[in-house]
């Protein structure tokens, strides 16, 4: 049985182009498709340092895979499936794997843009950071800002951001600028356990802890003026990123199905190298039930980010005063942990697949009907957060991402250092001082938690972006520079 300890070396990879490597299907007897890795020399070396690529090879054994498993340059070791991995399985009999979507279902990023010049409001940034920390519940065990009845939770499961809109948490244009308009079809609250409901009810409208954050940035540089204009991104202006997901609700949905499917997978005669990859056919009763529960968690996450946006807007009003029309317009909201049924062109044939993206962002190219009209000729906005103290990026999906990566691209910087190692080498209080000295105001609930998320624990996000742009699976729009970070 292959294990994640059986590391690969560079000799196991074939270089197909400056930014594309391949692990051929002959590498291991149980592989069904090759693994394709977007990386430069340095990032591929980094990927070989942990079990990321072994996990990608393990993922390539899933039944019903189409074409190849894709690995993004921000890849790092996850559990079962690598973080930064994409796998497409053919409907109806390819599989769905909850572990290949992740525990934090619809973890994603939302970007809000203002026309406030950072230079003009610099003195008020500490107050803004304090207001955001006070208004956006974060950290361990913090109760949500929206108490929910069981019936209301059911409505959120079905309606996602629409529920938030109907309850006064959205502004005109927010839903249109959200992937799937903030609501995934097919949600069935009956597919969600009582335990998931109990975890989810008190947590709506919270940021959580770990790598989740709210970050205030300045638009540092614009690379694509027409796209930046369509997005409302102006050089030197303040913007806000919100990074979080479905909280304990989504985690419990994933835990429940990973456990339940351990028996079902045997019934379908599927052999796997890692039990965390447990899967069942998409058309099976268990597979359909998981998809219904996943949609509930995805809709919960959309509503969660929508409510946090409302609190961010309140914080801007508290800091800068009331303004007609508000201070912040939504640029886009996008998931990076999700399973989506999509049509893709594979070797000249349109194939309906379930694209598992775990730590990878959908990046549809120009012409996609599901985009707001202002983005349709440009391509889908892609939000790539960095790591406190380093840049973040706004990109666009391209024809190349459609052709090479099932309409996907990277999702962040990607960890390079374990949390254990980060805590040993970085002190939270020292890090906070360093960030403040760099002009990044930090409001954090836990200093050890801050240390684990130190910028030095992550890869160079600029290098990650150069790879996806060089490979043609994204295009640059703007680079963002942080000025305030809020963490649990």
């Amino acid at each position: 049985m292959p294990k994640t300890d059986d590391r690969l070396t560079k000799q196991d990879l074939i270089r197909r182009s400056p930014f594309l490597w391949e692990i051929p299907v002959t590498h291991r007897s149980d592989m069904r498709v090759p693994v394709r890795i977007f990386a430069d020399d340095k990032l591929v070396e980094s990927a070989l340092q942990d079990a990321s690529l072994v996990q990608a090879v393990n993922a390539s054994t899933l039944p019903g895979l189409v074409s190849h498993v894709t690995v993004m340059p921000d890849v790092h070791q996850g559990y079962g499936f690598p973080i930064g991995g994409v796998a497409a399985t053919r409907l109806p009999d390819g599989v769905i794997s909850p572990g290949a979507i992740g525990y934090d279902i619809n973890c994603g990023v939302r970007l809000l843009a203002s026309d406030l010049s950072a230079g003009e409001v610099e003195d008020q940034l500490p107050d803004l950071a304090t207001a955001l920390y006070a208004n956006c519940p974060s950290g361990v065990g913090v109760k949500g800002s929206v108490p929910l009845s069981g019936k209301e939770l059911d409505r959120i499961c079905r309606e996602g951001s629409r529920w938030a809109d109907q309850n006064g948490f959205a502004e005109p244009g927010d839903l249109e600028a959200t992937e799937e308009d903030g609501r995934i079809d097919g949600a069935d609250p009956g597919a969600v356990s009582a335990r998931a409901r109990e975890r989810g009810r008190p947590q709506l409208g919270t940021l959580g802890a770990g790598n989740h954050f709210i970050e205030v940035d300045v638009v540092d540089r614009v690379f694509h003026p027409a796209a930046a204009d369509a997005m409302g991104l102006r050089s030197g202006a303040l913007v806000v990123q919100i990074h979080c997901g479905s909280r304990g609700f989504g985690h419990q949905v994933c835990s429940d199905y990973v456990r339940e499917l351990q028996t079902a997978v045997m019934h379908y005669g599927i052999q796997l190298p890692d039990r965390e990859l447990v899967c069942v056919p998409l058309s099976s009763p268990e597979g359909r039930r998981y998809l219904s529960a996943m949609a509930c968690a995805a809709n919960y996450a959309f509503a969660n980010r929508q409510i946090l946006s409302h609190h961010v807007r309140r914080s801007f009003v508290q800091t800068f005063g009331e303004r007609r029309g508000g201070w912040l317009n939504q640029v886009y909201d996008i998931a990076h942990n999700m399973g989506k049924v999509e049509d893709h062109n594979v070797e000249g044939e349109v194939v309906r697949v379930c694209v598992h993206r775990k730590g990878a962002t959908r990046a549809f190219g120009p012409g996609f009907e599901g985009l707001p009209p202002r983005y349709r000729s440009l391509g889908q906005p892609v939000l790539v957060p960095g790591s406190m103290g380093t840049a973040s990026w706004v990109l666009l999906g391209t024809e190349g991402s459609m052709a090479l990566a099932f309409g996907s691209t990277c999702h962040g910087a990607g960890r390079r250092m374990s949390r254990h190692q980060a805590k040993r080498s970085v002190r939270g209080d020292q890090l906070r001082q360093e960030l403040e000295a760099q002009g990044v105001r930090v409001r954090a609930g836990s200093l050890p938690g801050l240390a684990e998320e130190a910028p030095s624990a992550y890869k160079d996000v600029d290098a990650v972006v150069e790879v996806v742009v060089g490979a043609g699976i994204a295009a640059k729009v703007a680079r963002l520079r942080p000025v305030a970070v809020i963490k649990g």
Binding site: K3, T4, D50, S52, H76, Q77, G78, Y79, G80, I83, G99, Y103, D104, V140, G141, R195, E198, R199, A209, G210, G248, H251, C254, S255, V258, R259, Q262, T263, D274, R275, E276, V278, R415, R416, M417, S418, R419, H420, Q421, S446, P448, G449, E452
Partner: protein
């Protein structure tokens, strides 16, 4: 040489703990203690409760995951932390636990899920060992 009952193992994104026990009962006890120590869960003053829990699973790994999930659920949802645990696992993989819990004072770093990633309870010198990866 006496090996420690548990130790942290490097894992890029999440936490991994190598846990050792004399037998399955001891392994479950040490795994619970290790998990609570790793997330820095500490009790506050307040009324204690006694709880009894029965679990059954098809295999040792499934039992371990279900057991640790019970404790995590209690921490996150009921805000209760075990302060004393007795746990017995029969050869038929029936787990019976008696624990006393207290109100949760603080958690330094929450654990969100227990995974099956490469989860395999192995025979080892002095009993059993297992590496558990937690989603944090």
């Amino acid at each position: 040489m006496n090996l420690p009952p548990y130790e942290e193992v490097d894992h890029t994104a999440d936490w991994a703990l190598l846990v050792r026990g004399r037998d399955m009962s001891d392994l479950c006890l040490v795994a619970a203690s290790a998990m609570l120590a790793a997330c820095g869960a500490r009790p506050a003053k307040g009324r204690t409760n006694d709880r009894r829990l029965e679990l059954h699973a098809e295999d040792r790994e499934g039992l371990l995951v279900s057991w640790l999930e019970e404790i995590l659920f209690s921490l996150e949802t009921h805000r209760r932390v075990p302060t004393r645990i007795d746990v017995t696992v029969s050869p038929q993989l029936e787990l019976v636990a008696h624990w006393t819990d207290a109100p949760l004072g603080e958690v330094e770093k929450p654990i969100k899920a227990v995974t099956y990633n490469d989860l395999s309870v192995r025979e080892a010198v002095g009993g059993l060992e297992v590496t558990i990866v937690f989603d944090v």
